[in-house]
């Protein structure tokens, strides 16, 4: 039997999402309209993919700061390499994302450096690469059909892009719940040395997590550039910030080993609903940036504390101890 407090605490992201959506629906006339829900889900599609990947590296106890720059690089590669042939471009971009994820993981595993340090390096290298690719310009494509294909509304509020993101969340939830890989990830994030002693191949788990986060960010960048039919070196900025906030709000602990994709999904929704509602209320990008920063600061300060509190609540119901 779960006490009401526990179910409230574990379902906090869901409760907050509903509350926030209700609050904006009451205050804003057009908030709950089909078009605006579609717009929210479009932002969700972008941020959701990035956050899903990032949250999986956080789950194994590491961090990937390079996701924001990866979005820009992937978008630029798609249009630069592909031109009008976006499939070739997308394949090239995803291959590059795979490479970046492997480089992150290999440097991390071989040199035993903090993943924050490794990925701060790749973050900077990738943004330099993005500026070099863009050459100070905004890259365009004349192929608008692909964007239309991905963005045409389905049942009014969905698009192929947002459905793909939701599918990715479902897949990841399945992997974590039903496969050995998923359990190994949680074990690695909970206590890497203990997991290794128990025979978990933590090197391969780290490789998987870094590659996954790089691929998710790459895919988000590819889809964004296809959808906008343009790409620039700055299009990934602020996404890292939002992704970290969304992951922590969604219940992923910075220390690793705690959290699940369903929570992250609602974490992303909370952030996209908040930003959408604020801009409908007339807040400028400066105010939204500021709010996101304050929000991240609050959740990161609370991160350790709520994690510890939840731990006391459910220490008996989870495999993870202390």
């Amino acid at each position: 039997m779960k006490s009401p407090i526990i179910s409230l605490a574990t379902n906090l992201p869901l409760v907050l999402t509903v509350a926030l959506f209700a609050a904006f629906t009451v205050t804003l006339d057009n908030f709950a309209s089909t078009q605006n829900t579609y717009a929210i889900l479009q932002s969700f599609a972008l941020l959701g993919l990035i956050t899903l990947g990032l949250s999986m590296t956080m789950l194994v106890g590491e961090f990937d700061l390079s996701v924001g720059s990866m979005v820009a690089v992937a978008g630029l590669i798609t249009l630069k390499v592909g031109g009008d042939d976006l499939v070739t471009g997308a394949i090239a971009a995803m291959a590059f994302a795979l490479l970046v994820g492997m480089v992150n993981a290999l440097i991390f595993v071989w040199l035993r450096l903090s993943s924050l340090v490794v990925t701060v390096g790749t973050m900077i290298a990738l943004s330099g690469f993005a500026y070099w690719l863009a050459g100070g310009k905004i890259v365009n494509t004349d192929n608008f059909d692909a964007g239309a294909l991905w963005d045409d509304s389905i049942f009014g509020i969905f698009s192929a892009r947002s459905l793909l993101t939701i599918l990715a969340f479902g897949l990841m939830a399945g992997v974590l719940k039903f496969t050995r890989l998923g359990r190994d990830m949680v074990a690695t994030g909970s206590r890497a040395h203990a997991a290794q002693a128990c025979g978990v191949p933590i090197g391969r788990i780290h490789l998987f997590a870094f590659v996954l986060s790089s691929l998710c960010a790459g895919l988000a960048g590819v889809l964004l550039s296809i959808s906008l039919a343009t790409a620039s070196a700055t299009m990934g900025s602020n996404l890292l910030l939002q992704a970290v906030s969304a992951a922590i709000i969604g219940g992923i602990a910075l220390a690793g080993g705690i959290g699940k994709p369903s929570g992250v999904l609602f974490g992303v929704l909370i952030l996209t609903i908040l930003n959408n509602g604020m801009s409908l209320l007339g807040a400028g990008s400066a105010a939204i940036l500021l709010t996101n920063g304050v929000l991240l600061l609050i959740v990161v300060v609370l991160d350790g504390k709520t994690g510890a509190m939840l731990q006391i609540f459910r220490s008996k119901s989870l495999v993870r101890q202390g």
Binding site: F63, L65, I107, L111, R112, L113, S114, L116, V117, V120, G121, I124, A125, G128, F129, Y131, W132, G135, N238, L240, L241, V244, L254, G284, S285, A286, A287, I288, L289, L290, T291, N292, G293, V294, L296, L297, V300, V301, D303, G304
Partner: protein
């Protein structure tokens, strides 16, 4: 293990006075190639080689005009690198809000310049100290991950900056030429004098005072430091205040040079400061390295940047070469550290 290393480091920096000349030279050589000094000493040697190569390969490399250009390019970045070194030394990796702090302070500098240069400098100092102390409290007392906390603060600061400036350039109505283009004894830029004075003072403070030893011990092992009665939160707040102040001062230097405030003026400062700290071999594990090393790192990177520039290479190529140099330095440092552990 870590403490033992630290003791040997402290001992080696204060050689006995009774040593003979030859053994002093021997000590000097031995100290120079010691695992925790070899990287920065390598940087010094390579910097000298770069200057010689520059002189031989480029006609006007050692002219006053080009030397001035190098001095201007190193000053603001060097100040920020010194501030970053405090954070790295304290075991808190990096401060990713330096570019944002410097950007906001270019706006503040330009908008307060009509009260005079001292007031403008005072305003940016107060701004930097305030932003730094917020992060110091968050990281030092709430023990929040420093990278995430400083990213959050960076976006708050940028949000405030674009709200205040409306994304526009703020023209400075006043005279900042003393700082912007002024020269000490009509030889070296005042900016360089400020940079060197700040660095030497900071280095002395960390190497020779109680605060410095506390900072180093916290960087080496925060738990031991706390149990030894070290005032951990207080020391970390001071480190973040210094870093915030140095970022703001760097912003002031940028603004005085450009004669205006703009959020884009300080772009890339985080990277440049981190790069200087990393190539100089200040350990990202904390506690190892000297503040002055960051100065050598900044000078080394400025020399590379200048050489690439005078050889006519594009900005993007410069960025990628610098990135490659930093990656090599990090891998080298990790390999040296690994060799030391085994």
């Amino acid at each position: 293990m870590r403490q033992a290393r630290e003791t040997s480091h402290l001992a080696s920096s204060t050689p006995s006075r009774t040593k003979t000349m030859t053994s002093a030279v021997g000590d000097f050589v031995r100290d120079s190639v010691q695992a925790d000094r070899i990287q920065v000493n390598g940087i010094k040697v390579v910097s000298i080689l770069l200057i010689i190569w520059g002189h031989l390969s480029v006609d006007n490399f050692l002219t006053p005009a080009n030397l001035n250009a190098i001095m201007y390019s190193v000053s603001a970045i060097g100040i920020a690198a010194v501030g970053m070194a405090f954070i790295t030394l304290s075991g808190n990796l990096f401060m990713l809000s330096m570019a944002a702090t410097a950007a906001l302070s270019t706006i503040v500098f330009a908008s307060t310049l009509h009260f005079g240069l001292p007031v403008a400098l005072l305003s940016v100092s107060v701004l930097g100290i305030a932003i730094g102390s917020i992060q110091g409290v968050v990281v030092g007392t709430a023990r929040v991950n420093p990278i995430i906390a400083t990213i959050a603060v960076a976006s708050i600061v940028m949000g405030v900056g674009s709200y205040v400036s409306g994304g526009m350039t703020v023209a400075g109505k006043g005279d900042a030429s003393w700082l912007g283009i002024g020269k000490f004894a009509s030889l070296v830029p005042n900016q360089l004098v400020i940079f060197l004075a700040f660095s030497l003072a900071a280095n002395y403070w960390v190497e020779r005072t109680r605060f410095g030893r506390e900072l180093r011990l916290i960087g080496l092992n925060p738990v031991t430091a706390a149990y030894s009665g070290i005032r951990v939160p207080r020391t970390l707040v001071i480190a973040f205040v210094i870093a915030g102040f140095s970022a703001a001062l760097a912003g002031g230097l940028f603004a005085s040079q450009a004669g205006q405030g703009n959020l884009k003026l300080a772009a890339g400062l985080d990277f440049d400061a981190i790069a200087a700290v990393l190539v100089a071999g200040i350990s990202i594990r904390g506690g190892q390295g000297k503040i002055i090393d960051a100065v050598y790192g900044a000078i080394f990177l400025a020399l590379i940047g200048n050489l690439l520039l005078v050889h006519g290479l594009s900005f993007e190529i410069q960025l990628m070469v610098k990135g490659a140099v930093v990656v090599l330095a990090v891998i080298l440092a990790a390999l040296i550290a690994r060799g030391r552990v085994h």
